[in-house]
Amino acid sequence: MLKYTLKRLGSTVLVLFLASILVFFLTVHSGDPLADLRESNDPDAPFEMEQRIYHMQLDQPWYTRYWGWLQGVLGCFRLSCDFGTNREGQDLNPILMQAAEDSLRLVFIATIASIVLGILIGILTAIRQYSVFDYSVSFIVFLFFSLPTFWAAVLAKDYLAIYFNDWMQEGAEFSWGQLLLISGVMAVVVPLIAGGSAMRRLVTGAVVGLFSAGALWYFDSAQFALYPRVGALGVILLSFGLAVGLTALIAGLKNRQVLYTALTVAALSIVSYYATWNLLQDPPGGWFFLGALFVLTIVICVVIARTMGGYAKGQATSVAVLTGVLSSALILLDHFMYHWPNMMSLKPRPISTIGSHTRRFTEDDVTWWQVNLDLLTQLWIPTVILMLISLATYTRYTRSSMLEVARQDYIRTARAKGASERTVVLKHAFRNALIPLATIVAFDFAGLIGGTVVLERIFNWNGMGQLFVTALQQVDPAPVMGFMIITGFVAVLFNFFADILYAVLDPRIRV
């Protein structure tokens, strides 16, 4: 494994190196970096030209400039990267870091969201192949796929920002018409996914419709949009629900050892919910602290599963870790919800159409939660758009991959030996269907970074896309190279993960 990893790393570096030469060469030869000054009749233009020539080393051949740039970047191996300076002579490191932080946050969250959602929908459409649900989903995802970003952004700003904020300010209550409409839609859609006989669908529809209506009514009367909470009761019920549900899904409820493991994890989650509540009101170290807690959670879950799992250690570990992770997510969600009114008090219209953050939250009197809620609300629309656009890929790939796998001999064999449908789908089909998906994810991530160029402009983010476009127009290679190295590095990194994932997923790949 180590040798395989190193080999992959080596080829990664080589690819980046060659790509950097090519990009540098192309950028440098894409135009005249002094064009604007040449056309200027400013008496100081010659001086400004000299300055620019000095900053950009235009008096050197391109390979000398490349070498100068490469030396700075090679410093990364000594942990002191130097991405050079732009044409004004400004140090690029802080500029690039700021831009990369904003852009990667956007792309990362959007990618994760579309992978999870896309795979889920893909599996469902594969299971219900050629059903109304399948056709409708295909229609919708292709519609999203073909939306031009700028147009989708304008629509999204209207509906998700302007109308939503108006609604929030008017008391955040559903009218009876809206309530009926939403429950009606739920009552139609859910039975389509669930399938079954006509009678069963009718019953499912009725139950779902009534449930939705009740939930919305509760939502209104509790002013949930203004004062949302999962609440202690919610955390307890949902954690245990997760424990039982995940056990049923992965191991089956008859597997008592797994069930008890999962329930133990759920109980521990609830204990830690109370134990860490005050500590988390102002998490020391922010995301690092939360990350550390998250890792600790996983470790504890693994330990519990290994000790309690008995013969079903493997399944117990999966169930325990998933239960732990999802319960932690619930707790995190509850904390965010708890602070939602605090954020709303400073930002009465929570969804903004511009900026990566809101200035008010850079002042000293705000909490860590308010700052991050602001970041999340600012992220919301661009993330949704990016997500919807890439959803189609994941959905369709998952679907076709699942269908492909479902025709394989080993699936038939699994059914023949009497494995339950759950085991067949999740263990035999899904796992194998994931293999081609791993490749897509890696490529898609890099592609999405490019796709943010337009979004950043529309949402006035000062991200990598802006940086790249401006630099390219100015024939300024250093920022272009910075963009290329960071995006390229991330893309290659994801490819690398994908390769590792192959090895894990596909037992035929022996490394």
Binding site: D36, D42, P43, D166, S352, S356, R359, N460, N462
Partner: protein, 688 residues
């Protein structure tokens, strides 16, 4: 490259400086050192910015339609006068002066966006900081002896101080044997008889209460700094002229201070005279003796204590070095002045270096996104209306939705039909302001011998067939109902003296088309058909449409018109003289003398080979006529000749569109280049 464009250009500048770049933001940004300082009420620094913004627009023929180019927006700072139908209904605004409001600062934040251009520098006088957003921001961080009213009037700002002319001076021109004014061969300016002339002297008094936000008194030394950075004599001691000429790689700048304006230094060679730490100084116009736009010369202060400290000098030493023109002593100070106030690596400079003399101080900044100002606690004048004003750097395309979502409260988008429709469709309670700007569209006719318009009858025929009213009806009316035919060049429809000037200079003969008469005139001139090309800076859809309309109408009279849109029209076509008609807009600045440069036969921006002795004489007299009433007959004379000789055909002033949340009080548009934020310190959100 292109001269032209700069309507704001001061007349008496060396030809070298007389150019204005056109089609490109960075270009136009750089081009005008000669820009007279047309300050507005606030800000020393901003002063100059303002001037250059002018230039921008002057230089930016694309103004309204050319979306690719951020500066268009920049210029659309409009104003309404009596006609502004959508105006808040505030009474008494016709004067164009600031309303005297007694405000208390409310703890609130108002968000505004004027253009998608980032903040560059606290030093608004620095050439690189010359953009709309920067000017608007710097404008709120400074105050000055005067400001531009909404009708381009220049009004003293008595909170800052006062000024009075203590010697009116007199300029006597040299005359030759025939009694003709002698012009300098190099500059084309009248030669002044130094024995008989006496210079104008103005005394300025800074308010006793005026202090920088760091507590330091604002004194004469601060004006010595403002003057010194513009003084032409202060050169870079390391600059070697010979070496620069011989060696193309020579890399020293001839100037020590990279100032966007040089006028204070040029008109007032000896600088402000007064006690350095006192509050009173005089300036003597010893170079040109009198200067009709003198009010524009002295604006606001720059903090000499900061520059001195950063330059390793005392304030006295700094002033001394400026007076002595001792470039060597000023090198460090110049280095700081040129770059030390710039945003570096995404961060504002240290707050101690950025004192304010206006209602606001800089607070926080996020590259490419916003800059926030907070009220200056030490401001001695009327306090700011709102604790915080935040500028967002938004593209025009996203301004309207941001306004609808209340992400911003005040916007200055480009005036397009789309924008207007979006604003009108908004669910939010917003106020739309339509404003006639100081930017005006016109057709220039080339009188050069190679052009068919060297023949007066052809000019007249063309003027008779141009569908002036139709252009307004089809292309401008959808944007604003208020825009009427513009029948003058030196005054605009919304200004006080417009009717007075037009009634004496123009009889309405080209208001209506007369194609038959045009045809007859061409026949009389012996032309069957006349081929002409109407040139403009492309791409610009609205100008293409105008050419289309003119072409359709004039073809009936016998003109064969081709579309001469060119993407470097001002840079490459105009200078060659190989053009017939140029369609573009000047950005007016409220400056009186600038027109001489365009219409005088020796004017530096006279590209149409226009020549009329009476016109020259009228201009030479106008630029030394200090009394406003006395100038009117001269302007009438000028306009009359311009109509008779048909040098240019004015079309319309550009409409500007602004919008604000209806809850924001005291938003007031202006025709001046200072833009919608000119009185942002008076904005307040009304309590609901």
């Amino acid at each position: 490259m292109s001269h032209l464009m700069n309507r704001a250009a001061v007349i008496w500048v060396p030809p070298l400086y007389r150019f204005c770049a056109v089609h490109h933001r960075s270009l136009s940004t750089y081009s005008h050192e000669e820009q007279e300082v047309k300050l507005r009420k606030l800000s020393a620094a901003a002063a100059i910015l303002a001037s250059s913004a002018l230039v921008l627009s002057g230089c930016t023929p694309g103004d309204d339609d050319d979306n690719g180019n951020g500066d268009d927006v920049t210029d659309e700072n409009g104003e309404t006068t009596d006609e502004g139908g959508e105006e808040d209904g505030d009474e008494g605004e016709a004067s164009g002066e600031r309303e005297a409001l007694d405000l208390e600062t409310t703890d609130d934040e108002i968000h505004v966006s004027v253009a998608d251009v980032d903040f560059v520098s606290y030093n608004g006088n620095a050439r690189t900081a010359n953009n709309t957003t920067n000017s608007a921001i710097v404008g709120l961080m400074g105050s000055s002896f005067w400001y531009f009213g909404t009708d381009l009037s220049i009004n003293p700002f008595d909170e800052f101080g006062s000024y009075e002319v203590i010697d009116e001076g007199e300029a006597v021109y040299e005359e030759d044997e025939d009694g003709e004014t002698v012009l300098d061969e190099e500059t084309g300016e009248p030669v002044i008889n130094e024995d008989e002339s006496s210079p104008m002297v103005v005394e300025y008094t800074i308010s006793d209460d005026a202090v920088w936000s760091d507590g330091t008194d604002i004194t004469v030394a601060d004006f010595v700094l403002t003057w010194g950075t513009q003084a032409p004599g202060i050169s870079n001691p390391d600059f070697d002229e010979e070496a620069a000429e011989e060696d193309p790689d020579y890399d020293e700048s001839p100037h020590l201070f990279d100032s966007v304006s040089k006028s204070f230094g040029e008109y007032v060679p000896d600088g402000p005279q007064g006690d350095l730490d006192g509050k009173t100084f005089t300036v003597e116009y010893s170079d040109h003796y009198v200067y009709v736009d003198w009010q524009l010369v002295v604006g606001g202060p720059q903090p000499s204590h900061i520059v001195a400290e950063q330059g390793g000098l005392s304030v006295e030493e700094l002033a001394e070095a400026f007076y002595e023109k001792d470039g060597g002593a000023l090198e460090e100070a110049a280095e700081f002045w040129n770059t030390g106030w710039h945003v570096q690596g995404g961060d504002l400079p240290d707050a101690d270096l950025l004192p304010s003399s206006g209602p606001y101080v800089l607070d926080s900044y996020a590259t490419g996104e916003y800059l926030s100002l907070v009220a200056n606690e030490d401001y001695w004048g009327t306090p700011a209306g709102t604790e915080r004003v935040t500028f967002h750097f938004l593209d025009d395309g996203i301004m309207t939705q941001a306004l609808e979502n209340a992400d911003v409260d005040v916007i200055a988008p480009q005036a397009t039909v789309d924008t207007l429709e979006q604003l009108e469709a908004s669910n939010r309670d917003i106020e739309i302001y339509e404003q006639e700007l100081a930017t005006w569209e016109h057709l220039d006719l080339n009188h050069g011998s190679e052009s068919p318009f060297s023949d007066h009858e052809v000019r007249e025929a063309f003027a008779l067939c141009v569908p002036r009213q139709l252009i307004i009806d089809n292309l401008i009316a959808p944007l604003s109902d208020d825009i009427e035919l513009l029948n003058a060049r030196e005054v605009f429809n919304y200004q006080d003296h417009y009717d007075e000037v037009v009634s004496e200079s123009y009889d309405g003969r080209y208001d209506e088309q007369d194609i038959e008469r045009a045809r007859e005139l061409l026949d009389e001139a012996g032309h069957d058909t006349v081929e002409i090309e109407i040139g403009y800076q492309a791409p610009n859809p609205r100008r293409s449409d105008q050419v289309q309309l003119i072409s359709e109408q004039c073809s009936e009279a016998g003109f064969e018109i081709s579309d001469g849109g060119h993407d470097a029209f001002f840079a490459e076509v105009i200078p060659t003289g190989d053009w017939d008609v140029a369609l573009f807009a000047w950005a007016g600045s409220g400056q009186i003398a600038s027109g001489r440069n365009l219409y005088h036969s020796e004017g530096g921006q006279n590209d149409g080979n226009w020549s009329n002795e009476d016109l020259d004489a009228a201009w030479d007299e106008l630029v030394v006529t200090m009394d406003e009433e006395d100038r009117i007959p001269l302007i009438q004379e000028i306009e009359r000749i311009l109509w008779d000789d048909l040098m240019s055909i004015p079309l319309f002033v550009h409409p500007g569109t602004f919008a604000a949340d209806a809850s924001i009080d005291n938003v007031r548009t202006t025709a001046a280049q200072t833009g919608i934020t000119w009185n942002a310190d008076q904005w307040q959100r009304s309590a609901e």
